[in-house]
Symmetry: C3
Subunit: 271 residues, 3 copies
C-alpha cells in the first residue's frame, strides 16, 4: 500500500461497478438509514432476518452485516444461521456489537457471535470493544463512555485473539488486525448526533469488504470514505437533521478521485 | 376515460377530501417513509401487524397494503388474516412482492398471497413480477435485473391468470389488467436511489384504490402522481438524501390541477 | 413556578448537562425519528424490547418510554417487565397509547399498562385519551377524530383516577395532573403532517421527566419546547419533508434562553 488514497479510490470505483449485494441483519432503528447509505455508496442493500430465509439470502450476498442493536432470540438464531452460511461461502462478515456492555444479552450475544463465527471485522465504539475484551465497560445504552485511546490496546489484543479486524470509531477511528494499526483522521463531530451513524459506518465497511479482501485496508478505507462524507456534509450543514440528509448526499457525491485526495489515513505498525 | 389527467386530478381531490385510512402490513425499512408519503398525499396511514389485531384494523381501512419486504412467519399469518378480512369487506388489497425471486420464502409467500387472497393490484419491479410468473428471475436482493419490457408479456398473462392488476415500476412503469395496458412516462431516475421508493409507490396506489374502484386506472394515476413528485423533487435536488426529502415535499405540494397537467399516461389496448 | 419560561429553560440546560439515557420500547415507524429527536434535545436514546433484556436496560435509564404504536404480545410482555423494573427503581414512565380506540388490542393494552404500572405521564391525542376513559372514541387508525377540548374533562378525571399526568396534544396541548391544567400555545400545524411527531413529543416528555420530578411541569415544558421547535422549523420550511428535517435541527438549535423566551404556557387551576 504505497498510496492508500489511490487504493481507497480504486475500491470505491470497483464498488460502483460491481454493485455488490449487502445482506443486513440489523436493528430496526437504522434499517432505513443504512439502506439509503448503502445505495448512495453504490451497493445494493437487502434486509432479511427470518430463520427460514437468511441462509439463502446470505449465500448470494457480497458481504453480511450482523448488527445487534435491537436484539431478540429469533434474531440471534438467524444471525448464527446466516453467519455460518457466509463462512461456508467465504463471504465476509462484519459484526456491529451495538450496546455491548450495557446489558448481558448484548455483551453475551456479541461474544458468542465473535466466537462461533469467523468474523472479518468488528466495528464498535470504545465501550463496546472494551466489553468484548472482558472489561467492565458500562456502555451507556449504545453510547461510549470511553475514548478510542482507552480501547486501543484492547483492540490490538482482541484482533489477535479473534483473528478479526477491530475497528473503533470515535474522535479518530482506529482500525487494527493486531499487527498494522490505522488511524483515520476523517470525520466530523456532528456524526455523533445522528442515530445509526456508527451502524452506517459498519455498512460502509461491508461494502468495501465486498470488493477488497484485505480486510484491515477495506475497513480503514471505508471509515475514511464515510468520515469524508461527514466532512463534506458539515460544510453545508451545521445542525443534525440537515447534516444527516447531507451525509447521504455526500456519500453519493464523493467520487473515487475525491476519496483519493480526501482520505486522511495514518499507518502505524505494532512492535 | 377521455381525459386521464382530469380523472387523476379528481382522484387526488377526492383523496384529500376523504382522507382514507390505509392499513399497512409492510417492512421495517420503509415504514416511516411510507407513512410520511401517505400523509403528504392526504391519506391516513396506520401500521399494524399483530395477528390479534389485523382483522379489526383491516376492517376499518379504505385499502390494505401487504408488503413482504422483511418477512417472517407470524407476519405471513397476519397478512393472510388481514387479507381475508379485507376481501370479506370489499376493501381493496395491494400486494408488494419485495424480493420475490431472491429467496424461496419470498417467492412462495408472494405466490401464496396472490392465490389465497383476492388482490386488486400487485406492484413490483420486473424481476419480482417475472418470479410470480414462475420464471427464474434471480432478483438481486430487492433489486431488479430485468427491464420493464422483459416482464411486459408476463404481466399481461399474470393479470389474466390472477384477475389482478399488475403494475411494474422501472424506467417507464407499466400497468395492466390483462386487457388495457398503461405506460406511465412520469418519474425520475433518482427514485431508484431511495430505498422504499417502490414501497411508497405501492402506498400511493393503495391511497388511489381507496377512492377509485377502477383498479387499473387507480394504479396508473397513482404511479403518474408519484412519478411526477419525483420529477418535481429532481428540479430542486440532484442527490438522493435531499431528493428523498423533496419527494415528500412534492407529494404534498402537487395539487389536483398539477396532476391533471403533469400526468404522462400512454394508453394501449391488448388485442 | 413564578416564571415557567425560566424553569423550562433550566430543565433544558440540565438535560444537556446530564444527558440522561432514555429507554424506548416504541413502535417501528418512529424509532429512527424518536432517537434522532432525543439526541438533538441532548438525551441519549436506546431502543430495546427483548423480554430477556428490558429489565436490565430499564434499570439504568433516566426515563422509560412505552409506546404501543406497533404492538404484539411479546412486546406487551416486555413493556410490563420493563415498567415494573422502572417502578421499582423510581424511574418515571411515560405511556403513549398510540391508536387506542382503533382496535381492542390497543385499547385494552393501554388500559392494562395504565392499571398495572405506575405511570408518570400518559400522552396521546384526544381520541386516544377518550378511549382510556372508557368512551367509544373511534380513533381513525392512529389519528384523532376529536379536538383537545372534547377530551379536556376526561383528561382531568383520568388524571385523578390513575394518579398520572395526562397530556393531550393537538391544536393547543393540554397537560393536567387533575388539579393544575396547563395549556401549551406553542406548536405548528405542519407537525400533524409528520408521522411520529406525537411519539417524538412523548420522547421529549421522557427527557424532561429525567431531569424534573414535578411531572406535570416537566410534561408542559417538554411540549412547549417541542412545539417551539415546530414553530422554528416552520419559519424555514413550508412542506412536511423538509419541515421534519428542520424540526430535528430546531430541537438542537433551541437553547435554554430561547426556550425561556419562546415558551407559551397558560396555567389554570381546577376548582
Amino acid at each position: 500500500m504505497i498510496d492508500p488514497g489511490k487504493d481507497a479510490g480504486e475500491n470505491l470505483r470497483k464498488l460502483r461497478e460491481q454493485k455488490p449485494l449487502i445482506h443486513n441483519i440489523t436493528n430496526y432503528v437504522v434499517m432505513n438509514f443504512s439502506a439509503n447509505s448503502l445505495i448512495a455508496m453504490g451497493a445494493l442493500p437487502v434486509m432479511a432476518h427470518a430463520e427460514n430465509e437468511v441462509e439463502e439470502m446470505a449465500s448470494i450476498a457480497g458481504a453480511l452485516v450482523i448488527n445487534i442493536g435491537t436484539l431478540s432470540d429469533p434474531w440471534i438464531r438467524a444471525m448464527l444461521l446466516a453467519g455460518k452460511t457466509a463462512n461456508k461461502n467465504n463471504i465476509p462478515i462484519i459484526l456491529d456489537p451495538v450496546g455491548a456492555g450495557a446489558t448481558s444479552l448484548r455483551t453475551n450475544t456479541a461474544k458468542r457471535l465473535a466466537k462461533e463465527l469467523d468474523i472479518a471485522v468488528i466495528r464498535g465504539n470504545a465501550s463496546e470493544v472494551l466489553s468484548l475484551s472482558g472489561e467492565e465497560s458500562g456502555t451507556k445504552g449504545v453510547d461510549s463512555i470511553h475514548s478510542v485511546e482507552d480501547a486501543a490496546q484492547a483492540a490490538v489484543e482482541l484482533a489477535l485473539e479473534l483473528d478479526s479486524v477491530i475497528a473503533i470509531t470515535g474522535e479518530n477511528d482506529l482500525v487494527t488486525n493486531g499487527d498494522t494499526v490505522f488511524r483515520v483522521h476523517n470525520g466530523h463531530k456532528l456524526m455523533g448526533m445522528v442515530t445509526g451513524s456508527g451502524c452506517a459506518a459498519t455498512a460502509a465497511i461491508a461494502a468495501f469488504l465486498a470488493v477488497n479482501d484485505n480486510f484491515v485496508e477495506a475497513a480503514a478505507f471505508a471509515l475514511g470514505y464515510f468520515g469524508l462524507a461527514g466532512q463534506w456534509s458539515a460544510i453545508r450543514n451545521t445542525r443534525p437533521g440537515s447534516f444527516k440528509v447531507g451525509l447521504i448526499d455526500s456519500l453519493y457525491e464523493i467520487g473515487p478521485d475525491d476519496l483519493q485526495t480526501g482520505l486522511k489515513l495514518e499507518v502505524m505498525h505494532e512492535t
